[in-house]
Protein backbone atom coordinates (compact mmCIF):
# COMPACT_ATOMS: atom_id res chain seq x y z
CA UNK A 1 0.00 0.00 0.00
CA UNK A 2 2.76 2.43 1.00
CA UNK A 3 4.70 1.56 -2.13
CA UNK A 4 1.62 2.07 -4.31
CA UNK A 5 1.19 5.51 -2.76
CA UNK A 6 4.83 6.34 -3.40
CA UNK A 7 4.46 5.34 -7.07
CA UNK A 8 1.38 7.51 -7.38
CA UNK A 9 3.21 10.51 -5.92
CA UNK A 10 6.15 9.94 -8.26
CA UNK A 11 3.76 9.85 -11.23
CA UNK A 12 2.05 13.03 -10.06
CA UNK A 13 5.33 14.93 -9.80
CA UNK A 14 6.25 13.96 -13.36
CA UNK A 15 7.78 10.48 -13.50
CA UNK A 16 7.03 8.93 -16.91
CA UNK A 17 3.87 6.87 -16.58
CA UNK A 18 5.41 3.76 -18.06
CA UNK A 19 8.03 3.78 -15.29
CA UNK A 20 5.41 4.10 -12.55
CA UNK A 21 3.41 1.21 -14.06
CA UNK A 22 6.52 -0.93 -14.58
CA UNK A 23 7.48 -0.19 -10.99
CA UNK A 24 4.10 -1.35 -9.72
CA UNK A 25 4.30 -4.55 -11.79
CA UNK A 26 7.84 -5.28 -10.55
CA UNK A 27 6.85 -4.72 -6.91
CA UNK A 28 3.67 -6.74 -7.32
CA UNK A 29 5.34 -9.77 -8.87
CA UNK A 30 8.22 -9.51 -6.41
CA UNK A 31 5.86 -9.64 -3.44
CA UNK A 32 4.17 -12.71 -4.95
CA UNK A 33 7.63 -14.28 -5.38
CA UNK A 34 7.24 -14.57 -9.15
CA UNK A 35 10.46 -14.53 -11.21
CA UNK A 36 10.71 -11.01 -12.66
CA UNK A 37 11.53 -12.40 -16.10
CA UNK A 38 7.76 -12.46 -16.38
CA UNK A 39 7.82 -8.72 -17.08
CA UNK A 40 9.92 -9.30 -20.22
CA UNK A 41 7.61 -12.11 -21.27
CA UNK A 42 4.59 -9.82 -20.87
CA UNK A 43 6.24 -7.00 -22.84
CA UNK A 44 7.02 -9.50 -25.59
CA UNK A 45 3.27 -10.02 -25.97
CA UNK A 46 3.34 -6.78 -27.96
CA UNK A 47 4.69 -9.05 -30.72
CA UNK A 48 1.79 -11.45 -30.39
CA UNK A 49 -1.18 -9.19 -31.11
CA UNK A 50 -1.79 -8.87 -34.85
CA UNK A 51 -4.12 -5.88 -34.46
CA UNK A 52 -1.33 -3.70 -33.04
CA UNK A 53 0.14 -3.51 -36.53
CA UNK A 54 -2.59 -0.97 -37.31
CA UNK A 55 -1.26 1.53 -34.75
CA UNK A 56 2.14 2.45 -36.25
CA UNK A 57 0.77 2.27 -39.80
CA UNK A 58 -2.22 4.58 -39.25
CA UNK A 59 -0.16 6.98 -37.14
CA UNK A 60 2.51 7.23 -39.81
CA UNK A 61 -0.12 7.79 -42.52
CA UNK A 62 -1.70 10.52 -40.38
CA UNK A 63 1.59 12.35 -39.91
CA UNK A 64 2.34 12.18 -43.64
CA UNK A 65 -1.12 13.57 -44.46
CA UNK A 66 -0.61 16.34 -41.90
CA UNK A 67 2.65 17.40 -43.53
CA UNK A 68 1.19 17.37 -47.04
CA UNK A 69 -1.30 19.70 -48.70
CA UNK A 70 -4.15 17.29 -47.88
CA UNK A 71 -5.58 19.41 -45.02
CA UNK A 72 -6.00 22.40 -47.36
CA UNK A 73 -7.74 20.23 -49.96
CA UNK A 74 -10.01 18.73 -47.31
CA UNK A 75 -11.04 22.20 -46.13
CA UNK A 76 -11.69 23.35 -49.69
CA UNK A 77 -13.87 20.35 -50.47
CA UNK A 78 -15.86 20.59 -47.24
CA UNK A 79 -16.28 24.31 -47.83
CA UNK A 80 -17.60 23.71 -51.34
CA UNK A 81 -20.12 21.22 -50.01
CA UNK A 82 -21.23 22.90 -46.77
CA UNK A 83 -19.92 26.47 -46.82
CA UNK A 84 -23.16 27.95 -48.18
CA UNK A 85 -25.10 27.05 -45.01
CA UNK A 86 -25.67 29.63 -42.32
CA UNK A 87 -22.73 29.21 -39.96
CA UNK A 88 -21.30 27.22 -42.84
CA UNK A 89 -17.62 27.78 -42.24
CA UNK A 90 -17.98 26.77 -38.59
CA UNK A 91 -19.69 23.55 -39.67
CA UNK A 92 -16.98 23.05 -42.27
CA UNK A 93 -14.42 23.29 -39.48
CA UNK A 94 -16.22 20.74 -37.34
CA UNK A 95 -16.68 18.21 -40.14
CA UNK A 96 -13.18 18.58 -41.60
CA UNK A 97 -11.56 18.31 -38.17
CA UNK A 98 -13.62 15.25 -37.25
CA UNK A 99 -12.64 13.45 -40.45
CA UNK A 100 -9.01 14.39 -40.06
CA UNK A 101 -8.86 13.33 -36.41
CA UNK A 102 -10.39 9.96 -37.22
CA UNK A 103 -7.38 9.33 -39.43
CA UNK A 104 -4.67 10.92 -37.31
CA UNK A 105 -5.79 9.58 -33.95
CA UNK A 106 -6.41 12.62 -31.77
CA UNK A 107 -2.76 13.30 -31.12
CA UNK A 108 -2.93 17.07 -31.37
CA UNK A 109 -2.02 16.97 -35.06
CA UNK A 110 -5.47 18.25 -36.04
CA UNK A 111 -5.16 21.67 -34.39
CA UNK A 112 -1.73 22.14 -35.86
CA UNK A 113 -2.57 20.98 -39.40
CA UNK A 114 -6.16 22.21 -39.81
CA UNK A 115 -6.37 24.97 -37.21
CA UNK A 116 -3.72 26.96 -39.01
CA UNK A 117 -5.98 27.00 -42.10
CA UNK A 118 -9.36 27.40 -40.44
CA UNK A 119 -8.52 29.98 -37.80
CA UNK A 120 -7.66 32.80 -40.21
CA UNK A 121 -10.50 31.78 -42.51
CA UNK A 122 -13.04 32.02 -39.68
CA UNK A 123 -11.67 35.39 -38.65
CA UNK A 124 -11.91 36.66 -42.19
CA UNK A 125 -15.53 35.54 -42.27
CA UNK A 126 -16.18 37.77 -39.22
CA UNK A 127 -16.87 35.09 -36.68
CA UNK A 128 -16.33 36.44 -33.20
CA UNK A 129 -12.79 36.02 -31.97
CA UNK A 130 -13.74 34.05 -28.88
CA UNK A 131 -16.11 31.75 -30.77
CA UNK A 132 -13.39 31.01 -33.31
CA UNK A 133 -10.82 30.20 -30.67
CA UNK A 134 -13.22 27.93 -28.77
CA UNK A 135 -14.41 26.21 -31.93
CA UNK A 136 -10.94 25.34 -33.19
CA UNK A 137 -9.71 24.23 -29.77
CA UNK A 138 -12.71 21.92 -29.40
CA UNK A 139 -12.58 20.60 -32.96
CA UNK A 140 -9.05 19.36 -32.38
CA UNK A 141 -10.27 16.26 -30.59
CA UNK A 142 -13.62 15.87 -32.32
CA UNK A 143 -13.85 12.70 -34.35
CA UNK A 144 -12.05 10.29 -32.09
CA UNK A 145 -15.23 8.22 -31.97
CA UNK A 146 -15.01 7.59 -35.72
CA UNK A 147 -13.06 4.65 -37.14
CA UNK A 148 -10.16 4.17 -37.50
CA UNK A 149 -9.19 6.52 -34.67
CA UNK A 150 -6.41 5.19 -32.50
CA UNK A 151 -8.23 5.40 -29.14
CA UNK A 152 -11.02 3.11 -30.41
CA UNK A 153 -8.45 0.54 -31.50
CA UNK A 154 -6.56 0.80 -28.23
CA UNK A 155 -9.73 0.28 -26.19
CA UNK A 156 -10.40 -2.90 -28.16
CA UNK A 157 -6.84 -4.11 -27.63
CA UNK A 158 -6.99 -3.52 -23.89
CA UNK A 159 -10.44 -5.10 -23.52
CA UNK A 160 -9.34 -8.15 -25.50
CA UNK A 161 -6.56 -8.80 -22.99
CA UNK A 162 -9.07 -9.33 -20.23
CA UNK A 163 -10.64 -12.69 -21.05
CA UNK A 164 -14.17 -11.38 -20.82
CA UNK A 165 -17.07 -13.77 -21.22
CA UNK A 166 -18.38 -11.43 -23.87
CA UNK A 167 -15.50 -10.79 -26.29
CA UNK A 168 -15.08 -7.20 -27.46
CA UNK A 169 -14.57 -7.00 -31.20
CA UNK A 170 -12.93 -3.91 -32.65
CA UNK A 171 -15.47 -3.84 -35.51
CA UNK A 172 -18.19 -3.53 -32.89
CA UNK A 173 -16.46 -0.61 -31.21
CA UNK A 174 -16.13 1.10 -34.58
CA UNK A 175 -19.83 0.61 -35.26
CA UNK A 176 -20.75 1.80 -31.78
CA UNK A 177 -18.80 5.07 -32.11
CA UNK A 178 -20.59 6.20 -35.26
CA UNK A 179 -23.87 7.60 -33.89
CA UNK A 180 -22.40 9.12 -30.70
CA UNK A 181 -19.73 10.80 -32.85
CA UNK A 182 -22.41 12.18 -35.19
CA UNK A 183 -24.37 13.38 -32.16
CA UNK A 184 -21.39 15.44 -31.01
CA UNK A 185 -20.81 16.91 -34.46
CA UNK A 186 -24.49 17.80 -34.90
CA UNK A 187 -24.86 19.38 -31.46
CA UNK A 188 -21.81 21.54 -32.03
CA UNK A 189 -23.05 22.40 -35.54
CA UNK A 190 -26.41 23.41 -34.11
CA UNK A 191 -24.66 25.72 -31.67
CA UNK A 192 -22.63 27.23 -34.51
CA UNK A 193 -25.78 27.94 -36.54
CA UNK A 194 -27.40 29.49 -33.46
CA UNK A 195 -24.32 31.63 -32.86
CA UNK A 196 -24.49 32.99 -36.40
CA UNK A 197 -28.15 34.04 -36.03
CA UNK A 198 -28.81 37.68 -36.77
CA UNK A 199 -25.41 38.08 -38.38
CA UNK A 200 -24.85 37.78 -42.06
CA UNK A 201 -22.24 35.09 -41.63
CA UNK A 202 -22.54 32.68 -44.48
CA UNK A 203 -20.28 31.70 -47.29
CA UNK A 204 -20.91 32.41 -50.92
CA UNK A 205 -23.70 30.65 -52.80
CA UNK A 206 -23.42 26.96 -53.53
CA UNK A 207 -21.56 26.33 -56.76
CA UNK A 208 -21.31 23.07 -58.65
CA UNK A 209 -18.27 24.42 -60.41
CA UNK A 210 -16.42 24.90 -57.11
CA UNK A 211 -17.46 21.41 -55.98
CA UNK A 212 -16.13 19.93 -59.20
CA UNK A 213 -12.87 21.86 -58.88
CA UNK A 214 -12.44 20.81 -55.24
CA UNK A 215 -13.16 17.19 -56.14
CA UNK A 216 -10.62 17.28 -58.96
CA UNK A 217 -8.03 18.80 -56.65
CA UNK A 218 -8.61 16.17 -53.99
CA UNK A 219 -9.00 13.28 -56.40
CA UNK A 220 -6.10 11.32 -54.90
CA UNK A 221 -7.24 11.61 -51.29
CA UNK A 222 -11.04 11.31 -51.67
CA UNK A 223 -10.95 7.52 -52.23
CA UNK A 224 -9.07 7.09 -48.94
CA UNK A 225 -11.86 7.65 -46.41
CA UNK A 226 -14.35 5.94 -48.69
CA UNK A 227 -12.26 2.80 -49.16
CA UNK A 228 -10.94 2.65 -45.60
CA UNK A 229 -14.14 3.51 -43.74
CA UNK A 230 -16.31 1.57 -46.19
CA UNK A 231 -13.96 -1.42 -45.98
CA UNK A 232 -13.81 -1.39 -42.19
CA UNK A 233 -17.49 -0.69 -41.51
CA UNK A 234 -18.64 -3.26 -44.08
CA UNK A 235 -16.19 -5.84 -42.79
CA UNK A 236 -14.42 -6.22 -46.12
CA UNK A 237 -10.99 -5.47 -44.60
CA UNK A 238 -9.39 -6.44 -41.39
CA UNK A 239 -8.18 -3.39 -39.52
CA UNK A 240 -4.48 -4.08 -40.02
CA UNK A 241 -5.12 -4.58 -43.74
CA UNK A 242 -6.82 -1.21 -43.99
CA UNK A 243 -3.88 0.33 -42.14
CA UNK A 244 -1.34 -1.33 -44.42
CA UNK A 245 -3.11 -0.13 -47.56
CA UNK A 246 -3.54 3.39 -46.14
CA UNK A 247 0.11 3.79 -45.15
CA UNK A 248 1.47 2.67 -48.50
CA UNK A 249 -1.13 4.60 -50.50
CA UNK A 250 -0.57 7.84 -48.61
CA UNK A 251 3.19 7.45 -48.94
CA UNK A 252 2.99 6.87 -52.70
CA UNK A 253 0.49 9.71 -53.31
CA UNK A 254 2.05 12.47 -51.19
CA UNK A 255 5.70 11.64 -51.80
CA UNK A 256 5.92 10.07 -55.26
CA UNK A 257 2.90 11.45 -57.13
CA UNK A 258 2.14 14.85 -55.64
CA UNK A 259 5.71 15.36 -54.45
CA UNK A 260 4.55 17.59 -51.61
CA UNK A 261 6.88 15.90 -49.18
CA UNK A 262 10.51 15.70 -50.26
CA UNK A 263 12.16 12.33 -49.67
CA UNK A 264 14.70 13.86 -47.31
CA UNK A 265 11.95 14.91 -44.90
CA UNK A 266 10.63 11.36 -44.67
CA UNK A 267 13.00 10.00 -41.97
CA UNK A 268 12.08 12.95 -39.74
CA UNK A 269 8.35 12.30 -40.19
CA UNK A 270 8.89 8.60 -39.52
CA UNK A 271 10.75 9.40 -36.32
CA UNK A 272 8.20 11.97 -35.10
CA UNK A 273 5.27 9.63 -35.67
CA UNK A 274 7.04 6.73 -34.00
CA UNK A 275 7.84 8.84 -30.93
CA UNK A 276 4.10 8.94 -30.28
CA UNK A 277 3.69 5.25 -31.11
CA UNK A 278 6.65 4.29 -28.91
CA UNK A 279 5.41 6.37 -25.99
CA UNK A 280 2.05 4.57 -26.20
CA UNK A 281 3.47 1.10 -26.85
CA UNK A 282 5.86 1.12 -23.92
CA UNK A 283 2.99 2.02 -21.61
CA UNK A 284 0.89 -0.72 -23.19
CA UNK A 285 3.76 -3.22 -22.84
CA UNK A 286 4.39 -2.66 -19.14
CA UNK A 287 0.63 -2.47 -18.53
CA UNK A 288 0.23 -5.98 -19.91
CA UNK A 289 2.41 -7.04 -16.99
CA UNK A 290 0.67 -4.92 -14.36
CA UNK A 291 -2.80 -5.88 -15.64
CA UNK A 292 -1.86 -9.53 -15.46
CA UNK A 293 -0.84 -8.98 -11.83
CA UNK A 294 -4.10 -7.09 -11.15
CA UNK A 295 -6.18 -9.92 -12.55
CA UNK A 296 -4.14 -12.57 -10.71
CA UNK A 297 -4.76 -10.84 -7.43
CA UNK A 298 -8.41 -10.22 -8.29
CA UNK A 299 -8.18 -6.51 -7.57
CA UNK A 300 -11.11 -5.55 -9.86
CA UNK A 301 -13.33 -8.19 -8.27
CA UNK A 302 -12.58 -6.99 -4.75
CA UNK A 303 -12.99 -3.39 -5.84
CA UNK A 304 -16.35 -4.24 -7.37
CA UNK A 305 -17.50 -5.86 -4.14
CA UNK A 306 -16.39 -2.85 -2.14
CA UNK A 307 -18.24 -0.44 -4.44
CA UNK A 308 -21.26 -2.71 -4.62
CA UNK A 309 -21.62 -2.48 -0.84
CA UNK A 310 -22.29 1.24 -1.18
CA UNK A 311 -23.86 1.70 -4.59
CA UNK A 312 -26.50 -0.65 -5.81
CA UNK A 313 -28.11 1.16 -8.71
CA UNK A 314 -26.64 1.20 -12.18
CA UNK A 315 -27.67 4.83 -12.53
CA UNK A 316 -25.73 6.01 -9.49
CA UNK A 317 -22.75 4.06 -10.72
CA UNK A 318 -22.93 5.77 -14.11
CA UNK A 319 -23.10 9.21 -12.49
CA UNK A 320 -20.03 8.43 -10.41
CA UNK A 321 -18.33 6.95 -13.47
CA UNK A 322 -18.89 10.18 -15.39
CA UNK A 323 -17.49 12.28 -12.56
CA UNK A 324 -14.52 9.96 -12.16
CA UNK A 325 -13.73 9.96 -15.88
CA UNK A 326 -13.99 13.74 -16.11
CA UNK A 327 -11.52 14.08 -13.26
CA UNK A 328 -9.32 11.46 -14.89
CA UNK A 329 -9.44 13.33 -18.18
CA UNK A 330 -8.06 16.41 -16.47
CA UNK A 331 -5.00 14.46 -15.33
CA UNK A 332 -4.23 11.84 -17.94
CA UNK A 333 -4.08 11.85 -21.70
CA UNK A 334 -6.48 9.52 -23.45
CA UNK A 335 -3.94 6.84 -24.34
CA UNK A 336 -2.48 6.28 -20.88
CA UNK A 337 -5.93 6.55 -19.32
CA UNK A 338 -7.15 3.76 -21.60
CA UNK A 339 -4.30 1.44 -20.85
CA UNK A 340 -4.16 2.07 -17.11
CA UNK A 341 -7.78 2.51 -16.08
CA UNK A 342 -9.84 0.32 -18.42
CA UNK A 343 -8.52 -2.98 -16.97
CA UNK A 344 -9.76 -1.88 -13.54
CA UNK A 345 -13.14 -0.34 -14.38
CA UNK A 346 -14.26 -2.65 -17.19
CA UNK A 347 -14.95 -5.66 -14.90
CA UNK A 348 -16.69 -3.34 -12.44
CA UNK A 349 -18.88 -1.81 -15.14
CA UNK A 350 -19.79 -5.24 -16.47
CA UNK A 351 -20.79 -6.14 -12.92
CA UNK A 352 -23.30 -3.29 -13.08
CA UNK A 353 -24.65 -4.64 -16.35
CA UNK A 354 -23.00 -2.15 -18.69
CA UNK A 355 -22.14 -3.51 -22.12
CA UNK A 356 -18.34 -3.52 -22.59
CA UNK A 357 -18.65 -1.82 -26.00
CA UNK A 358 -20.90 0.89 -24.53
CA UNK A 359 -18.41 1.41 -21.72
CA UNK A 360 -15.71 2.02 -24.31
CA UNK A 361 -17.75 4.75 -25.96
CA UNK A 362 -18.60 6.35 -22.58
CA UNK A 363 -14.94 6.24 -21.64
CA UNK A 364 -13.68 7.83 -24.86
CA UNK A 365 -16.42 10.46 -25.01
CA UNK A 366 -15.53 11.54 -21.46
CA UNK A 367 -11.83 11.55 -22.26
CA UNK A 368 -12.48 13.71 -25.32
CA UNK A 369 -13.74 16.42 -22.98
CA UNK A 370 -10.51 16.00 -21.04
CA UNK A 371 -8.64 17.49 -24.01
CA UNK A 372 -10.28 20.86 -23.33
CA UNK A 373 -10.61 20.69 -19.54
CA UNK A 374 -8.35 22.96 -17.48
CA UNK A 375 -5.79 22.80 -16.06
CA UNK A 376 -3.91 20.33 -18.21
CA UNK A 377 -6.14 19.68 -21.28
CA UNK A 378 -3.67 19.22 -24.12
CA UNK A 379 -5.67 21.11 -26.76
CA UNK A 380 -5.82 24.22 -24.58
CA UNK A 381 -2.06 24.44 -24.60
CA UNK A 382 -1.63 23.60 -28.25
CA UNK A 383 -4.21 26.25 -29.20
CA UNK A 384 -2.70 28.81 -26.85
CA UNK A 385 0.74 28.22 -28.31
CA UNK A 386 -0.37 27.97 -31.90
CA UNK A 387 -2.65 31.04 -32.00
CA UNK A 388 -0.60 33.07 -29.52
CA UNK A 389 -3.41 33.62 -27.04
CA UNK A 390 -3.10 33.42 -23.25
CA UNK A 391 -4.23 30.06 -21.86
CA UNK A 392 -6.83 31.77 -19.67
CA UNK A 393 -8.48 33.28 -22.73
CA UNK A 394 -8.55 29.85 -24.36
CA UNK A 395 -10.16 28.43 -21.19
CA UNK A 396 -12.92 31.03 -21.33
CA UNK A 397 -13.47 30.60 -25.06
CA UNK A 398 -14.00 26.85 -24.75
CA UNK A 399 -16.57 27.02 -21.93
CA UNK A 400 -19.73 26.95 -24.11
CA UNK A 401 -18.29 24.11 -26.19
CA UNK A 402 -17.39 22.27 -23.01
CA UNK A 403 -21.00 22.53 -21.83
CA UNK A 404 -22.33 21.19 -25.14
CA UNK A 405 -19.90 18.29 -25.20
CA UNK A 406 -20.78 17.50 -21.59
CA UNK A 407 -24.46 17.36 -22.55
CA UNK A 408 -23.63 15.00 -25.41
CA UNK A 409 -21.57 12.80 -23.09
CA UNK A 410 -24.51 12.53 -20.70
CA UNK A 411 -26.80 11.53 -23.57
CA UNK A 412 -24.24 8.96 -24.71
CA UNK A 413 -23.89 7.58 -21.18
CA UNK A 414 -27.58 7.27 -20.29
CA UNK A 415 -28.85 6.16 -23.69
CA UNK A 416 -26.99 2.90 -24.42
CA UNK A 417 -29.04 2.19 -27.54
CA UNK A 418 -27.38 5.12 -29.30
CA UNK A 419 -24.08 3.26 -29.12
CA UNK A 420 -25.37 -0.28 -29.38
CA UNK A 421 -27.96 -0.11 -32.19
CA UNK A 422 -25.35 -0.53 -34.90
CA UNK A 423 -23.41 -3.24 -33.08
CA UNK A 424 -23.95 -6.57 -34.81
CA UNK A 425 -24.57 -8.77 -31.75
CA UNK A 426 -25.27 -6.64 -28.70
Amino acid sequence: MASALLLLVLALVGAPLFAAIAGSALLGFHSEKVDLQVVAIEIYRLAEMPVLLAIPLFTFAGYVLGESGAPARLVRLTDALLGWLRGGLAIVSLVACALFTAFTGASGVTIVALGALLYPALQQAHYRERFTLGLITTSGSLGLLFAPALPLILYGVVAQQMDLEQPVRIDDIFAAGLLPGLLMVSMLSGYSIWQSRGTRISGGPFSWREVAAAVREGAWEIPLPIVVLGGIYSGAFALSEAAAVTALYVLVVEVAIRREIPLRKLPGIMRESMVLVGAIMIILGVSLASTNYLIDTEVPVRLFEAIRAHIDSKLTFLVLLNLFLLALGMMLDIFSALVIVVPVILPIAIGYGIHPVHLGIIFLANMQIGYITPPVGMNLFIASYRFERPVLEVYRATVPFFVILLASVLIITYWPALSLTLVSAP
Partner: protein, 173 residues
Amino acid sequence: MSDAESGKRLENAIGLLHRLEDGLLALVLGLMILLAPLQIFLRNFFDAGITWGDPLLRVLVLWVGMLGALAATRGRRQISIDALSHVVGERARSGFGAVTSLFTAVVCAVVAYHSARFVASEIEYQTSAFAGVPAWTCEIVIPVAFGLIALRYALYSMGDLRKVLAGRPVEER
Protein backbone atom coordinates in the same frame (compact mmCIF):
# COMPACT_ATOMS: atom_id res chain seq x y z
CA MET B 1 44.14 11.91 -23.74
CA SER B 2 42.93 15.30 -22.51
CA ASP B 3 39.50 15.91 -21.04
CA ALA B 4 38.36 17.94 -24.04
CA GLU B 5 39.51 15.19 -26.39
CA SER B 6 37.69 12.43 -24.56
CA GLY B 7 34.62 14.64 -24.30
CA LYS B 8 34.70 15.09 -28.04
CA ARG B 9 34.98 11.36 -28.56
CA LEU B 10 32.06 10.72 -26.26
CA GLU B 11 30.00 13.25 -28.17
CA ASN B 12 30.85 11.57 -31.47
CA ALA B 13 29.93 8.19 -30.07
CA ILE B 14 26.60 9.54 -28.82
CA GLY B 15 25.91 11.15 -32.20
CA LEU B 16 26.66 7.86 -33.89
CA LEU B 17 24.31 6.03 -31.53
CA HIS B 18 21.53 8.51 -32.28
CA ARG B 19 21.99 8.10 -36.03
CA LEU B 20 22.04 4.33 -35.60
CA GLU B 21 18.76 4.42 -33.66
CA ASP B 22 17.09 6.70 -36.18
CA GLY B 23 18.32 4.61 -39.09
CA LEU B 24 17.13 1.37 -37.51
CA LEU B 25 13.74 2.90 -36.69
CA ALA B 26 13.26 4.11 -40.28
CA LEU B 27 14.40 0.73 -41.60
CA VAL B 28 11.99 -1.24 -39.41
CA LEU B 29 9.05 1.05 -40.17
CA GLY B 30 9.89 1.07 -43.89
CA LEU B 31 10.02 -2.71 -43.96
CA MET B 32 6.65 -2.82 -42.20
CA ILE B 33 5.07 -0.37 -44.68
CA LEU B 34 6.22 -2.53 -47.61
CA LEU B 35 5.73 -6.01 -46.19
CA ALA B 36 2.20 -5.49 -44.81
CA PRO B 37 0.57 -4.58 -48.16
CA LEU B 38 2.67 -7.23 -49.96
CA GLN B 39 1.15 -9.90 -47.71
CA ILE B 40 -2.37 -8.71 -48.53
CA PHE B 41 -1.56 -8.61 -52.24
CA LEU B 42 -0.16 -12.15 -52.22
CA ARG B 43 -3.03 -13.48 -50.14
CA ASN B 44 -5.72 -12.01 -52.34
CA PHE B 45 -4.28 -12.55 -55.78
CA PHE B 46 -2.14 -15.64 -55.38
CA ASP B 47 -3.90 -17.19 -52.44
CA ALA B 48 -0.58 -17.52 -50.63
CA GLY B 49 1.39 -15.16 -48.42
CA ILE B 50 4.95 -15.49 -47.24
CA THR B 51 4.60 -17.94 -44.36
CA TRP B 52 6.98 -16.03 -42.10
CA GLY B 53 5.52 -12.68 -43.19
CA ASP B 54 2.87 -12.32 -40.50
CA PRO B 55 5.02 -13.33 -37.52
CA LEU B 56 7.79 -11.07 -38.81
CA LEU B 57 5.35 -8.16 -39.03
CA ARG B 58 4.29 -8.73 -35.43
CA VAL B 59 7.91 -8.70 -34.27
CA LEU B 60 8.46 -5.49 -36.25
CA VAL B 61 5.62 -3.92 -34.24
CA LEU B 62 7.52 -4.70 -31.03
CA TRP B 63 10.71 -3.25 -32.50
CA VAL B 64 9.04 -0.08 -33.73
CA GLY B 65 7.45 0.34 -30.31
CA MET B 66 10.70 -0.13 -28.40
CA LEU B 67 12.77 2.01 -30.77
CA GLY B 68 10.04 4.66 -30.72
CA ALA B 69 10.08 4.64 -26.93
CA LEU B 70 13.83 5.07 -27.08
CA ALA B 71 13.40 8.04 -29.41
CA ALA B 72 10.78 9.51 -27.08
CA THR B 73 13.24 9.23 -24.21
CA ARG B 74 15.83 11.23 -26.12
CA GLY B 75 13.71 14.38 -26.01
CA ARG B 76 12.27 13.47 -22.60
CA ARG B 77 8.96 13.11 -24.35
CA GLN B 78 7.58 10.08 -22.54
CA ILE B 79 3.96 10.50 -21.56
CA SER B 80 3.69 11.81 -18.02
CA ILE B 81 1.28 13.75 -15.85
CA ASP B 82 2.34 17.32 -16.28
CA ALA B 83 0.54 18.81 -13.29
CA LEU B 84 3.41 20.37 -11.40
CA SER B 85 5.46 22.15 -14.00
CA HIS B 86 2.96 25.00 -14.30
CA VAL B 87 2.84 25.50 -10.55
CA VAL B 88 6.32 25.22 -9.10
CA GLY B 89 9.46 27.22 -9.76
CA GLU B 90 12.20 26.07 -12.06
CA ARG B 91 14.60 24.99 -9.39
CA ALA B 92 11.95 22.82 -7.74
CA ARG B 93 11.19 21.41 -11.16
CA SER B 94 14.80 20.36 -11.54
CA GLY B 95 14.61 18.78 -8.08
CA PHE B 96 11.54 16.72 -9.03
CA GLY B 97 13.21 15.94 -12.35
CA ALA B 98 16.28 14.56 -10.60
CA VAL B 99 14.18 12.28 -8.36
CA THR B 100 11.74 11.03 -10.99
CA SER B 101 14.50 10.47 -13.54
CA LEU B 102 16.53 8.48 -11.03
CA PHE B 103 13.47 6.39 -10.25
CA THR B 104 12.84 5.81 -13.98
CA ALA B 105 16.49 4.83 -14.49
CA VAL B 106 16.32 2.27 -11.68
CA VAL B 107 13.04 0.74 -12.89
CA CYS B 108 14.30 0.49 -16.46
CA ALA B 109 17.60 -1.02 -15.30
CA VAL B 110 15.70 -3.71 -13.37
CA VAL B 111 13.50 -4.45 -16.41
CA ALA B 112 16.59 -4.52 -18.65
CA TYR B 113 18.40 -6.91 -16.29
CA HIS B 114 15.53 -9.38 -16.05
CA SER B 115 14.77 -9.24 -19.76
CA ALA B 116 18.46 -9.91 -20.43
CA ARG B 117 18.14 -13.01 -18.22
CA PHE B 118 15.07 -14.00 -20.21
CA VAL B 119 16.93 -13.56 -23.50
CA ALA B 120 19.88 -15.54 -22.14
CA SER B 121 17.63 -18.46 -21.27
CA GLU B 122 16.10 -18.35 -24.74
CA ILE B 123 19.61 -18.57 -26.22
CA GLU B 124 20.41 -21.49 -23.95
CA TYR B 125 17.27 -23.44 -24.88
CA GLN B 126 17.56 -22.42 -28.54
CA THR B 127 13.91 -21.43 -28.75
CA SER B 128 12.70 -20.65 -32.26
CA ALA B 129 10.33 -17.76 -32.96
CA PHE B 130 9.22 -18.63 -36.52
CA ALA B 131 10.72 -20.17 -39.64
CA GLY B 132 13.85 -21.23 -37.76
CA VAL B 133 14.62 -17.68 -36.62
CA PRO B 134 16.01 -17.90 -33.07
CA ALA B 135 13.60 -16.25 -30.62
CA TRP B 136 16.34 -14.27 -28.89
CA THR B 137 17.04 -12.22 -32.02
CA CYS B 138 13.47 -10.93 -31.83
CA GLU B 139 13.52 -10.37 -28.07
CA ILE B 140 16.91 -8.71 -27.77
CA VAL B 141 15.36 -5.32 -28.48
CA ILE B 142 13.67 -5.32 -25.04
CA PRO B 143 16.80 -5.40 -22.82
CA VAL B 144 18.73 -3.15 -25.22
CA ALA B 145 15.99 -0.49 -25.35
CA PHE B 146 15.33 -0.56 -21.61
CA GLY B 147 19.07 -0.49 -20.90
CA LEU B 148 19.56 2.61 -23.06
CA ILE B 149 16.47 4.27 -21.59
CA ALA B 150 17.86 3.59 -18.09
CA LEU B 151 21.19 5.11 -19.07
CA ARG B 152 19.55 8.21 -20.49
CA TYR B 153 17.39 8.82 -17.45
CA ALA B 154 20.42 8.35 -15.21
CA LEU B 155 22.13 11.11 -17.17
CA TYR B 156 19.01 13.33 -17.00
CA SER B 157 18.90 12.78 -13.27
CA MET B 158 22.53 13.85 -12.87
CA GLY B 159 21.96 16.86 -15.09
CA ASP B 160 18.94 17.95 -13.05
CA LEU B 161 20.79 17.41 -9.81
CA ARG B 162 23.63 19.58 -11.03
CA LYS B 163 21.13 22.32 -11.89
CA VAL B 164 19.56 22.15 -8.44
CA LEU B 165 22.98 22.44 -6.83
CA ALA B 166 24.03 25.25 -9.12
CA GLY B 167 20.66 26.96 -8.65
CA ARG B 168 20.27 27.39 -12.37
CA PRO B 169 16.96 26.95 -14.18
CA VAL B 170 16.36 23.71 -16.05
CA GLU B 171 16.81 23.99 -19.81
CA GLU B 172 14.25 22.51 -22.12
CA ARG B 173 15.51 19.79 -24.34
